[in-house]
């Protein structure tokens, strides 16, 4: 058996017996998908509620035209209860509209017709529904006013000094899309964090426990030693990515995303493509982590350096989860950033040019190979005995 395989196998057996390593491997992939699917489900629910606002109207018979207008604006109008105050106070309805008996006459005679909207301002959850009702009522009032002016030969525009068009970006759709950008974030984190514990344990940990020196006295080649350790760290990172993607795909299949007008499901092809994007990243990150941890004397020291190292690429990634960047070959060649933009695009249903995917993978593999080469060089020097 090749020494590389012997080293990798031993490190994997050792790693799998490390309860903390295994626990983090199993728990981490669940966190992201659970969080995202819970948030998305809540948003979907809210969006659904907003769309079907039900308004009880007391005295519906007095205002058939108003009822027709409200229904045209998407409000479900039902016959109101006899005691609107109780209904609103108890929270059974967001609002109740009361149409007085004098309403038709006032409207006919061109006076201001009075309506009463019973609401409870202190109920935060009722706000969106109230807003919708108020807008619909104001619109109706404006229409009636405009018709009155027209019938007197006056342009309704005279009565309106200004017109403000609202462009509301905080639609549930947009919010959902922002959340969806967290999905690649979690898969990325799996690639970055998955092998970190092992990478520091296999180098700084080995030195700290005093087993590195005996290992170095064996005839095994330094290159095989480094590659074997890297393979073990990579195996942890890769299985973390696979588990995270699997859990994400499953979680997303449970959220009714089609209501947001998004690609509702992650197809098997999408998941495989994401895997293809993330595995080269895992190769790079575990190689770099191995290199950085090789300079540390203790696991603690290694973890401090590694968390600093990990945070650097996470910042642009965090930023990108709100502000997607278009994947150009140049962007794709920057580790983490490239994967983030490619995965984000994938979720929005945009598949980039094959050359972009290639650039992304190639740069990660090249950087990873460089890190491994430097690590092997370090392991061949006497510095490795003492650390730093």
């Amino acid at each position: 058996m090749s020494p590389l395989v012997i080293v990798a196998r031993k490190e994997l057996v050792d790693g799998c017996r490390d309860r903390r390593a295994v626990l983090s491997l199993l728990v981490f992939p669940l966190v992201g998908p659970v969080l995202v699917s819970t948030l998305l489900s809540t948003l979907v629910e809210r969006a659904t509620v907003e769309r079907t606002v039900t308004l009880p109207v007391l005295g519906m018979a007095h205002a058939p035209a108003l009822v027709a207008h409200l229904e045209a604006e998407g409000i479900v109008v039902v016959e109101g209860p006899s005691s609107p105050v109780d209904v609103v106070r108890s929270g059974a309805s967001e609002a109740v509209l009361v149409v007085g008996a004098d309403y038709p006459a006032a409207l006919r005679e061109g006076r201001r017709a009075r309506l009463q909207l019973v609401v409870d301002e202190s109920r935060e959850g009722a706000r969106p529904a109230q807003l919708k009702i108020r807008r619909a009522l104001a619109n109706y009032g404006r229409t009636v006013g405009a018709l009155r002016l027209l019938s007197r030969g006056v342009s309704p525009e005279l009565a309106e000094g200004i017109v403000t068009e609202e462009v509301d970006l905080a639609t549930p759709e947009a919010r959902g899309a922002v959340l969806l950008n967290f999905v690649p974030m979690f898969a990325l984190m799996a690639a970055v964090f998955g092998g970190m514990h092992l990478a520091s344990d296999l180098t700084a940990g080995e030195r700290e426990r005093g087993s590195l020196e005996p290992l170095l006295f064996t005839p095994v080649s330094r290159r095989a030693l480094v590659l074997g350790k890297w393979l073990a760290a990579l195996a942890f990172a890769a299985s973390n990515v696979v588990l995270t993607l699997g859990c994400t795909a499953f979680a997303m299949s449970r959220v009714p995303l089609e209501r947001f007008g998004m690609a509702a499901r992650l197809s098997v092809g999408d998941v495989l493509l994401m895997l293809g994007v993330l595995l080269p990243l895992a190769m790079f990150t575990s190689a770099l982590q191995l290199l950085v941890a090789s300079f540390a004397r203790t696991v603690k020291e290694a973890q401090v350096s590694l968390s600093l190292l990990t945070f650097a690429p996470m910042l642009p990634a965090l930023f990108l989860s709100f502000e997607p960047l278009r994947p150009t070959p140049l962007v794709a060649m920057i580790p983490v950033l490239g994967q983030q933009s490619l995965l984000g695009g994938l979720l929005r249903g945009e598949v980039a040019e094959p050359s972009v995917y290639f650039a992304c993978a190639a740069s990660c593999i090249a950087f990873g190979a460089l890190a491994l080469l430097v690590t092997a060089r370090l392991f061949a020097s006497e510095r490795v005995v003492y650390g730093r």
Partner: protein
């Protein structure tokens, strides 16, 4: 055979090893005796090729570890000062890993491990994780690991450190037998009685230099002391004792 000739190593301002030469012959137990910080560990690291000497050279059966590190390491088994085990692995798995790294495998390796464990009285613990092992048991596993490839040359850096009397006894038997089987054994220690009873030759190192080299008997005679312990003190603190002699005169 282990040969060190005029080894020298400097770390920054510290001259760890100034001039160390000795030979550990086949079929003999050679003791390296020296106070803490005398440069023993650095010298042993140079034998295994982990540290490159600034001057001089080491040879393992005639092979320079700088020129052919793998070939040299295949011929030497070193128990260094750092002797950590993989606590999540069993004793057998620890030793097997190193055996496989030395190119051994299969039933031959398992038989060899069984034999080593019997020899070191580890057989009942073979398949338990070393997590709960006592210091003596851990030391034995570390020794088994160091000699799993049956190297011609064996270097043991203070193998009796922190062991109880019974473990020390069985260890001595093991070392003596290694010598009797024709291996070159280099045994570092700062316990005089051990070196006196165990070693055929003794090399005394102080402040990075070899200050004496001979059989225990020769050293006693040379220092003019009855016990090797007194000889050690006299030889490693020579300049001071010279002054003392002059003052007396």
């Amino acid at each position: 055979m282990i040969e060190a000739s005029a080894l020298r190593k400097r770390f920054g301002d510290v001259l760890a090893v100034a001039d160390v030469s000795f030979t550990a012959a086949d079929g003999a137990v050679t003791g390296i005796l020296g106070p803490n910080g005398a440069g023993k560990s650095t010298a042993l690291r140079m034998l295994g090729g982990l540290v490159v000497p600034d001057a001089g050279c080491a040879r393992i059966d005639g092979i320079d570890p700088r020129v052919a590190p793998s070939a040299a390491r295949a011929r030497i088994g070193i128990l260094p000062d750092a002797r950590g085990l993989y606590v999540r692995l069993t004793a057998r798995e620890n030793v097997r890993y190193f055996g496989e790294l030395c190119g051994l495998h299969g039933p031959a390796l398992e038989r060899h491990i069984d034999e080593l464990f019997r020899w070191l009285e580890l057989a009942p613990l073979a398949d338990r994780r070393v997590d709960g092992f006592s210091q003596g048991e851990r030391m034995k596993v570390a020794i088994a690991r160091a000699v799993v490839h049956a190297p011609q040359n064996v270097v043991l850096d203070e193998p009796t450190n922190g062991l109880d009397v019974m473990s020390i006894r069985s260890l001595r038997t093991f070392v003596r037998e290694l010598g009797a089987r024709g291996h070159a054994v280099l045994f570092s220690s700062h316990v005089m009685s051990e070196v006196a009873t165990l070693c055929d030759r003794v090399v005394i190192v102080a402040a990075g230099r070899v200050v004496a080299n001979g059989t225990p008997e020769e050293l006693r005679t040379r220092a003019g002391c009855d016990s090797l312990e007194d000889a050690f003190v006299a030889l490693t603190t020579e300049p001071v004792s010279d002054v003392a002699t002059e003052l007396e005169a």
